[in-house]
Symmetry: C2
Subunit: 334 residues, 2 copies
């Protein structure tokens, strides 16, 4: 989501670097012990707890950056905060078990608001049978909700971003662009189409499809939180492949089409660049029937050589065989 | 720690209620699934991940509430933030395995500052052999660090607050009052005695003693984060007992004694009411030799009947047989 407070900052500040570059710099300084099965860099980490693989991930949402309290109710914010972490677990093929939540709220926040936030967290967790088992609460200037989710693999290997194989079909479960279009609607001061605004306020995460992908032979999986192209690029880069998206396979739903027409926007920019819907992208053997909920949107190919043979400079994701020239994701820290 | 920005707020706001009351109200709304072994209310929760008990806890530190960047360096803040969650795990008798960390930082925060924060988190985790396996980073107005820790029990039952038995001896491992005295020093604009200021900046948590308590027959355990009397009251209340502290057993260390004399303060108020040192309090059979690092400070007794027989109104913790009239803990949300 774009940050309306974007301003000039020193180049060596957290805003001067990209979020990803700073996270990479941090990660390089963190040694990983023998109990770490999957280190930072995927949707979630996997660690051995008494020899049992345990999946853990954390996400933080900040008022004015990830949500606005005049656009979303406390229950919506709770749903969204829980969904962000739960989708990360499911994208690893893990069944969510429990959440813990740290909340920072201004001192004059109404208690009822906080209780409704908890209700939203609880109800989103209930969709996947997870419980909220702990939390912390502090005063602070800015509403902040940090959710950590813990999940189990049931003996299955985790589904990583790095498993995509040349020739795989690429498939998606869930919505693309709905939340981003809803954000565009709210940003213009409107409240309708309601379906898009609701999609922004409270994502409908296809948890069941994500879990079925992990038991149906998915080679790689990722949830779409940064935007389809950005998250496909994570898969392509981790797997050392190229991914080509077939734009004809991307459905442009009616409300997105009509809002894009009204605003003079390219609906594909929302679909390819919008995050927050928490769809799942996964790759499967080319001849495998896709699990329920997944639709084919592209194919995994060899890395493209550039004219001078420098693979590092080649695009990792193409649309209909060409680099995409439009919006390709966003940064919360941008 | 006292909040210098305390001001008049509506009674039904997060600041109008006590932190504990609001957390209790939230907890009542959260159903706990069959995988939850120990529900919210102790230092940490225990959940079954593929049938393996897994201990999880989260703590959040906020600039201006829990730390000040002009009083503590980024590495200090990292150490303190990790220690808060690690101590909670160890107080359950759990061996820490992994941390995930959510950081919110203003857009103009220097990257080097964030890297040093990560170093502090990493180095504190290394003390107990835990790895930082994931995180999230967002822009925001106020530096905020939320740490979730995951630990293992090695087949042992968790050590709960509710296990204290009448006749038990009460023992403490680690420092009491040092961090609170250091905070008093900093609040007055001084930087010495250095030992106290350092204790506030970076706690020295007796992790090894805490873990040995869990393998040496501790009936109940808790870490001191709200203050000795407040945390003993949690143990007493959960265990339906009274705890009497023998003040003669509380060592008043030299720097605390001299600063208290200089400021005209009661050193016992810091020792009984100060949090942030993350000492461990535990109860053991009366005739058991205490594990290394623990010193006896009191005894577990029957609940005291009040004159009209109303046990609910009786004090849960006494000092030398009397209710303590001085400071007895603090609230981050107060």
């Amino acid at each position: 989501m774009s940050d309306p407070s974007k301003a000039s900052v020193p180049a060596d500040s957290v805003a001067g670097r990209s979020e990803f570059a700073l996270i990479e710099a941090i990660t390089r300084r963190l040694p990983q012990g023998p109990e770490v099965v999957i280190a930072p860099g995927d949707d979630a980490a996997v660690v051995l707890v008494d020899r049992t693989p345990t999946v853990v991930t954390t996400d933080v949402l900040v008022a004015g950056v990830h949500f606005r309290t005049d656009w979303s109710g406390p229950d919506d914010i709770g749903h969204r905060a829980a969904a962000a972490s739960l989708a990360d677990l499911v994208a690893m093929g893990a069944d969510p078990v429990a959440l813990v939540v740290a909340v920072v709220a201004p001192r004059d926040t109404d208690s009822a608001w906080v209780l409704r936030l908890a209700d939203g967290l609880r109800d989103e967790a209930a969709v996947v049978g997870a419980s909220i088992v702990g939390g912390d609460l502090s005063s602070g200037d800015q509403l902040t909700v940090a959710v950590t989710a813990v999940g189990e693999l049931g003996g299955r290997p985790p589904v990583l971003r790095s498993g995509a194989r040349v020739g795989d079909q690429v498939a998606v479960a869930g919505r693309l662009g709905w939340a981003e279009a809803g954000l565009a609607v709210l940003t213009k001061g409107f409240r309708s189409p309601r379906a898009l605004v609701d999609a922004y306020r409270r994502p409908e995460v296809p948890y069941e499809a994500g879990l079925s992908a992990s038991t149906s032979g998915a080679h790689a999986m990722c949830d779409v939180s940064d935007g389809l192209l950005a998250d496909l690029a994570h898969v392509a880069s981790s797997s050392a492949v190229t991914i080509d998206v077939e734009s004809a396979a991307l459905e442009i739903a009616e409300p997105i089409a009509s809002v894009a027409a009204a605003y003079g926007s390219d609906p594909l920019a929302w679909i390819l660049g919008g995050g927050h819907d928490h769809a799942f992208i996964a790759t499967f053997d080319a001849d495998l029937p896709l699990p329920s909920g997944f639709d084919r949107i592209g194919v995994v190919a060899e890395p493209l050589p550039t004219p001078d043979g420098d693979r590092d400079a080649s695009p990792e994701v193409t649309v209909d065989g060409q680099p995409w020239a439009g919006s390709s994701g966003h940064s919360h820290f941008g």
